[in-house]
Symmetry: C2
């Protein structure tokens, strides 16, 4: 979270905008919270250039719950296609089987998820209800640099993207998307709110067993207030949206500015890793994530010393996910380029100490 967002939240904790009450004390149906909600919705619509025929929902359950909520809303109990590119899409595939027949359209497992299967090679099902992609895999560090054009592949079904871990780090080509969902805790705000952006024509097809609180149409018809929304999380997301709108890089602002920064941050780190024989990243160049950079020491016996030194240098949470091992740098929106520079300096310094 950006420091200035946290400081603003602290300053407003007991008195929001001169109202005499804090956000946590507001009724979610009162005019004060409604104004916070509407501003957050308008800001994220502007930041991501969401077209008018998409509804923006603020839901509960996190990205993981959407693995059930999406097929409950869109599958009609029939066949869907899933492109498995890492741990998160594997979970999506598995959970969908409770509600429909997921078909493995393509998988990166043969390369240990270090490549993304090219859309031309996907085996899409005739009559598929939708195609599911996780557009950034946090554990394996692969990211789609552009979205597939399903129509060009001869598929009329909507594309569903799980953009949890790179939302607001880059623009989205909505012409190619039916539904996008993301948990908040990477680039939006505190855990507990899920951003769901759904094309209007996809509303109203939920299975009978879809809980009302997770029925996109019910949520949309009630302005995300069918159940009491996670008010404070939405407020914090709104403060982050405002912060994003203030970001500038030259002529660019908002998400475009963040995208330029994220490109620069990722280039700095990958260029260093590629120049080194002491460290390596195994992901194919055309699908390297700008958010999550897994890397390995050539000599894994030095991992513990590496992590201890990193911690002493104030560089935290660098241990790789247990399923892949090694290291992982997470360089989300809130990480400034100075943070990546500090990491590269440490990588260089540690290598020297081991010479």
């Amino acid at each position: 979270m950006p420091l200035e967002v946290l400081q603003q939240a602290a300053a407003e904790m007991t008195n929001w905008n001169g109202s005499g009450m804090g956000v946590m004390e507001m009724s979610h149906r009162g005019k004060e919270f409604i104004s916070i909600y509407e501003q957050a919705e308008a800001d994220v619509r502007e930041l991501l250039a969401v077209p008018a025929n998409f509804k923006i929902l603020f839901m509960q359950g996190g990205g993981l719950a959407e693995n059930a909520i999406v097929p409950l809303n869109l599958s009609r109990g029939e066949t869907i296609d899933v492109v498995v590119t890492g741990s998160w899409s594997e979970k999506s595939f598995k959970e969908a089987s409770k509600y429909c027949t997921p078909h493995l359209a393509a998988s990166g497992v043969d390369t240990q998820f270090t490549t993304l299967p090219a859309p031309k090679q996907w085996q899409l099902s005739a009559g598929t209800q939708y195609v599911h992609l996780c557009t950034n895999e946090t554990i394996h560090g692969v990211e789609f640099q552009s979205l597939p054009d399903l129509k060009a592949l001869g598929c009329d079904a909507p594309l569903v993207i799980d953009f949890s871990s790179h939302v607001l780090s880059r623009s989205v080509d909505w012409a190619k998307v039916g539904v996008a969902f993301g948990g908040a805790q990477k680039n939006i705000g505190p855990a507990g709110v899920t951003l769901v952006i759904v094309r209007e024509d996809l509303l109203g097809h939920a299975l009978k067993v879809c809980p009302s609180a997770f029925n996109y149409k019910t949520v949309a018809d009630n302005g995300s207030m069918y159940n009491t929304p996670p008010t404070y999380s939405i407020y914090m997301a709104g403060l982050t949206f405002q912060w994003l709108k203030r970001q500038k890089e030259g002529e660019l602002c908002g998400v475009a500015a963040m995208e330029q920064r994220n490109i620069a941050k990722a280039k700095l780190l990958y260029d260093f890793l590629d120049s080194s024989s002491f460290y390596s990243n195994h992901v194919a160049h055309d699908c390297r994530s700008r958010m999550n950079v897994p890397f390995f020491l050539a000599d894994a016996s030095r991992n513990d010393a590496f992590l201890a030194g990193a911690k002493a240098a104030g560089l935290l949470q660098l241990k790789g996910h247990k399923s892949v091992g090694g290291m992982r740098a997470s360089i989300y929106n809130a990480m400034p380029i100075e943070g990546v520079q500090a990491l590269v300096h440490y990588l260089q310094a540690f290598e020297k100490t081991q010479a």
Copy 2:
């Protein structure tokens, strides 16, 4: 929310407990957040005297989502009994029909939900999977003053209570309960976390269509971290639990102290209403809610003037729910007796101006 809880949250926003980071910046699997989580769980277990054979879960979705989540976990697709005592249990009855066969065991509709049907008159189904009660109905202002003993009624099924709107305002007789659930936003903390307390033998019977993120066994087996939990909401709940533990009334502390205060607050307001012919409350004396007090002016044409005067006196949110009309005072834990005294003074003063 108690003011001192909000002030503590503001003070710790960017630096929790000297850790150098705010709660929103913590990994939910890091030792700092784990310590916050474990303290919150231990505190609510202590405050509510939850026995060791009950799991305490912090979930997402709110009380309303539990109307689906409970039958998904407990109904086995068979018959359940619902006692309908107002708007909330009506919703529970309706939502359950997606997953099982809800049977209307009793209803207060004949008295416009101003009485609670006596347990001896409930028509419980043979082989019912559970019996659902909403133990405090916010809109109709009825509250169970004690829980039914289903065994004494010849029923071996577990009792499920929706205690959303009076949780932590009074003790719970766990010997009579199988599952208790409550959204946070009345007496616990900000919306976005749901407290679910479930007896261990009831875990593991979810329907196949239960989303993994809402499967009680999955959530329990993962210490409420199967999906990323709503970390900040749990932290705020934890601060409220600490505040509750500090509350004292004579020899009493914690929930017992709150209960004594709530009894006194409710008595003050109901006694005044009963002494007046200008105002009235229609709920039977033995089931009047200590949390939500609906009341009516004898002359409804004075309602607008009443509300305008109340607002000028700093008494907000007194308008009754649209489905019942009139007025409603919500006097949750965080409302001190001075707030109820101020309301009674206003009620008296307004009546005088209308003489």
